[in-house]
Symmetry: C2
Subunit: 213 residues, 2 copies
DNA sequence: CCTACCGATCGGTAGG
DNA sequence: CCTACCGATCGGTAGG
């Protein structure tokens, strides 16, 4: 019981990072004082500044952290499923799940897009673009063999599906207000409908997928 | 030339409102000082506080203003077009245009959704829901007569299209980073693809629309 | 519409 | 990891 009040010996850095991530996502960078983060993890402001030399440095590490998670999860997401329609649907579901798993990620992405567009742009180009290219190449191949609609704009399509995945998690209150249901039920409906829309908008009805994909 | 420096006699209130709208959208409420708004319209902070008794009151009026624009434009948007496929597409295009016309609206909507979810939820319920019901009713009718896919979730569908319209305008940098084009070109592509996706996801291919709609 | 000013809060430093 | 403290900025008021 003596160790219940100060249980953190060396993972303090990690605890600060997690608390900062949550608060930056929930309230935004400017609205979050490093003092409130320090208090939440049970230390004083100058002690926090020993671990992260400035608030800006803390922000950079929070964002770097989220990008690392993306880089860890992406390969698994993109290679997990079987192939053809199924592969596509489970990929989309995995992307949604990435944000659903931890809504803070969605909110943090939205805030970064609003407040530091250039920084996010650069990070996306470096970390996400190669994987996007993999998907757009697949769509173009699908168009050639006739399983994907010919008039799909592959890049624009992928962007819309990605933004929709983030939006449905970050903006649940909007969906609740319109659909008039609870957050949980609303999210389940939004997810199912997004997967359906993405499928219907991409694949030609009734088209068969060849064996090797 | 003598009147070029102080051209504002009585529309000062409106000028403050417009400047506040732009800055709240661009940088967020918390990041915008009323001092910077006052400076931008050429007066001092206490003078601004004569027109709007507090920063919070200013925020309320900014949001009220945007909702009024919505209420003005909505009826026109929903009744403008011809009917069936065409009517639907031009309605979606009009919604996109509403935000494209003034990207600040999209950014302001996103920030309000993030920072004051309950306030936005209430405003949407009061102002938007009746119109949403009109569209979902139309979809359900379309499903009955077989021109809309039977497995569409009308509410979830409308929410996704609305969020996508806002997102493509508010998050252009993301689209630029992924598509690798300029903002203008990227927006044109995103708009065209969203309209296509919305159509393909809703209507049964090759179905005919009856005369009276 | 102004000058002058207030108390609170912020990020960050000194020094231990 | 702490106490003590700094200069800057904030929203808002007094008083004219």
């Amino acid at each position: 019981m003596a160790s219940s009040k100060k249980p953190a010996p060396e993972d303090m850095r990690q605890r600060i990072l997690e608390e900062a991530t949550r608060r930056f996502g929930d309230h935004g960078y400017g609205e979050t004082s490093i003092d409130s983060i320090a208090e939440a993890v049970g230390i004083r402001k100058p002690s926090l500044l020993y671990h992260f030399s400035s608030k800006e440095k803390l922000r950079e590490e929070v964002m770097h952290n989220m990008m690392e998670r993306w880089k860890e999860d992406l390969p698994r997401l993109l290679t997990a499923a079987t192939g053809g329609h199924d592969r596509f649907e489970s990929t989309i579901m995995a992307v949604i799940e990435f944000y659903l798993d931890d809504p803070t990620r969605a909110r943090l992405s939205v805030r970064e897009a609003m407040d530091r567009p250039d920084a996010l742009k650069k990070a996306l180009k470096e970390n996400l673009q190669p994987w996007i290219a993999l998907i757009t190449d697949y769509i173009r191949w699908g168009q050639k063999i006739g399983i994907c609609h010919a008039d799909v704009d592959p890049e624009a399509y992928v962007i819309h599906v990605l933004l929709a995945s983030i939006s449905m998690v970050a903006f649940t209150p909007v969906a609740e207000a319109i659909a008039g249901t609870t957050a949980k039920k609303s999210l389940a409906r939004q997810k199912k409908e997004l997967v359906r829309m993405a499928r219907e908008a991409l694949f030609v009805d009734g088209a068969e997928i060849p064996d090797g994909a």
